[in-house]
Symmetry: C2
Subunit: 104 residues, 2 copies
DNA sequence: TCAATATTTCGATAAATCTAGAAATATAGG
DNA sequence: CCTATATTTCTAGATTTATCGAAATATTGA
């Protein structure tokens, strides 16, 4: 993942509503959740939520699958992992080993 | 680190200029770099850079120490580690062990 | 004190973002 | 076909952000 894509993805997660949505989806698991379920759980107006979901999908944080009448949103775990990887590799250089960046 | 602080910090890193600055500072190491050095290295106009640095300092991504005439900017490694920790703990739940989230 | 250096503050503009109601679209079921 | 459900698109206002030149503010050294 290149610099610009990382910045764009972090910017998407850097909004309180969108971060809530992402956290919710992650907890929902690999089956994700429908737009309506997210809306009910988080209490975000439909049009606002739709806007945020579209943004998240655009940068690859989630994907959306149409299933009959509902649209299911699924978190792209790998995308997040790539982001975390970038932050560790590109932004943690210089930290002495064993200080605070040990594998969990 | 709570939800709102995480969102605020990610939003700061979610800007191309600021991400560049942070990466530069991380590579500069624990001694950081002066505002002027950053400016020269990245070619960002002084007032623009000052604005970005102030924002980054406000959320705790960097700290600024005055040293005679120059102001030295130092990356807050721990803050980034906390961010990464949050993303792993709060946003990677549900990923089966051994899939892609193994300790590096 | 004066000039040079380092950085910020001011001010102003352009662009992007957030928000949400209302209307539109799509689809399933009766 | 009609209605209910699910979601998006449209529209528009409010807020925030990004940008950067010019002026202001230290601070050092001569």
């Amino acid at each position: 993942m290149d610099h610009e894509k990382v910045a764009a993805s972090l910017a998407e997660l850097g909004n309180s509503h969108r971060l809530s949505v992402f956290r919710f989806l992650v907890k929902a698991g690999h089956d994700g959740a429908s737009v309506g379920e997210i809306q009910k759980a988080l209490g975000i107006p439909a049009s606002t939520l739709s806007h945020h979901l579209a943004r998240m999908a655009k940068v690859g944080l989630i994907r959306q699958e149409k299933h009959t009448r509902t649209i299911v949103c699924i978190p792209e775990y790998e995308h997040l992992e790539n982001l975390i990887g970038f932050l560790r590799e590109e932004c943690c250089v210089g930290v002495q080993a064993g200080h605070a960046l040990e594998p969990l």
